[in-house]
Symmetry: C2
């Protein structure tokens, strides 16, 4: 990879992270901004915030977006988190004057690309990444290249069907992995479990609270994580049988709760995978969790 600075932008539903990153993936400067939903306004606001950075020589800009992206055209086809549909993001970023060339990818693909470079040092040529956050995203590095499929929509690993008759998912399917492991659904299930046990519902239930409650041994929370971990294990077994990867990496905020869900996932994986693929895969939780997305976006350049 050519020496020099790249600009990375990670557009999430709540926060925008933007960073200047060198060719090794090291962050030189980083800023966080609250997300605004008007795309042209958003481009101008980011530009204004990081204007001082533009004194430096920058090789280009990589942008990761939560949603279904047309990378070639730089169009966001659909982003439920940003409430966007067919937004010509590239045009707005060009008009605002961001350093060109511009690259666009799904945010989970960016996280996978970031993990491949800075966490695995390109040693793992076949890498499956699951981003566990409000939703569940997926990124694929296959034969050492980012795999995005025919038109950039590949890697929807969070929407693999676990139970064909399961809960409806935001994507239109039922019983997706996301309906078990997505932060939003974890909280919903937690509230339901509390009310089923005739306990007071918790107005401020979060995945983090579910995690600490499970660590304290609270039954309702333990049950939620057992269900989630089991579903994750069934999905991971599928990914291991399909991809025979070197590494299966979990990242995103909810991955922090892995001590309470990963044992259940491993049990399923052990029962449902082919021996040679099972023996050769490393299942790990990212240790560089926080900035993989923005670093990966920058390294698209």
């Amino acid at each position: 990879m050519k020496n020099g600075l790249r600009l990375g932008i990670d557009l999430g539903g709540t926060l925008i992270k933007t960073a200047l990153v060198d060719h090794t993936g090291r962050i030189m400067c980083i800023k966080k901004i609250k997300t605004s939903f008007k795309p042209r306004h958003l481009a101008e606001r980011i530009h204004k915030t990081i204007r001082p950075w533009f004194k430096k020589s920058i090789l280009g800009t990589g942008i990761g977006v939560a949603g279904d992206i047309d990378s070639q055209k730089g169009v966001v086809r659909f982003s439920p988190n940003l409430s966007w549909k067919n937004i010509p993001l590239k045009k707005y970023f060009q008009q605002t004057g961001f350093p060109e060339p511009l690259f666009f990818e799904n945010d989970a693909s960016c996280a996978a690309w970031g993990a491949y470079h800075i966490e695995l040092k390109q040693s793992s040529k076949n890498l499956v990444v699951l981003t566990l956050g409000t939703g569940v995203g997926g990124g694929l590095i296959l034969n050492g290249r980012l795999y995005t499929g025919r038109n950039g929509s590949a890697g929807e690993l969070g929407h693999i069907t676990i139970d064909p008759k399961g809960r409806p998912c935001g994507c239109g399917n039922r019983g997706c992995l996301e309906t078990y492991m997505g932060g939003r659904y974890l909280v919903e299930a937690g509230q339901k479990e509390l009310s089923r046990m005739n306990k007071k519902s918790c107005a401020f239930l979060t995945p983090k609270k579910l995690y600490t409650d499970a660590q304290k041994g609270q039954k309702y929370a333990c049950q939620i994580w057992e269900q989630a971990g089991t579903a994750l294990g069934i999905a991971c077994a599928d990914f291991i049988n399909i991809f025979n990867p070197d590494t299966l990496l979990l990242c995103g905020g909810v991955a922090a709760a892995s001590p309470v869900f990963l044992p259940f996932a491993r049990k399923e994986i052990n029962q449902r995978t082919f021996l040679s693929s099972r023996k050769s895969v490393q299942i790990t939780v990212s240790s560089k969790n926080h900035h993989l997305g923005v670093i990966g976006a920058a390294l698209l350049v």
Copy 2:
């Protein structure tokens, strides 16, 4: 691809197909032999049968095997259909004097490689192939290359979990796609359905008979294909969301029954996939079904 003849061998549980194939994938000569299970004996028998072919100049030999293959070493780690475990096939084929270099792959990967070249003329860079036979195999062409994963075990698409609590599968998992769509399981389910309906069991039930019975409107057979098609559709929806492929190709003997199962599969696919991936995938049944495996094996050279 370099002009010249290649030798292809497709080692199945019942039959061995061997063919001389030119660089376009055209078959110049073909022979079928009954499978014997002693690997050294088998290599000698194939060699003896096709000895006249060796007068021609042959660029090398490609061998497809039903099972889990170490392509690098030419070792069959495990083949349930051939009852083989850790068989150093490359050694036997070298000692017998087959034209070198020798290449080894899983048979479904060979079928995918064959389909990519002769059926899709390399136009479909991201191709998911399902081989519907006694079992259900899978082959993946991603970014125009055969994808086999870390150690050659990738593409076990037949063992994606449809129902986590479903029927036990030969692979050790439960509720795999194969337990719905594999010929062996289709027949088992057919027998069970007949007995449930208090009908005489059929000693010679085959997937072909199940197909003709369904075409005649026999209820037990229609139900079996509905279940199978539904399971296939759930699995295909997963593959479409994961791979965003150009083409999803069904081949193998059981694919001939697609008129009775594919409508059920399409219904599930329509309900369970992301729009941009659904719109861009072609779902087709191979028209060159019979020899994809042996042609793909030859074209490994």
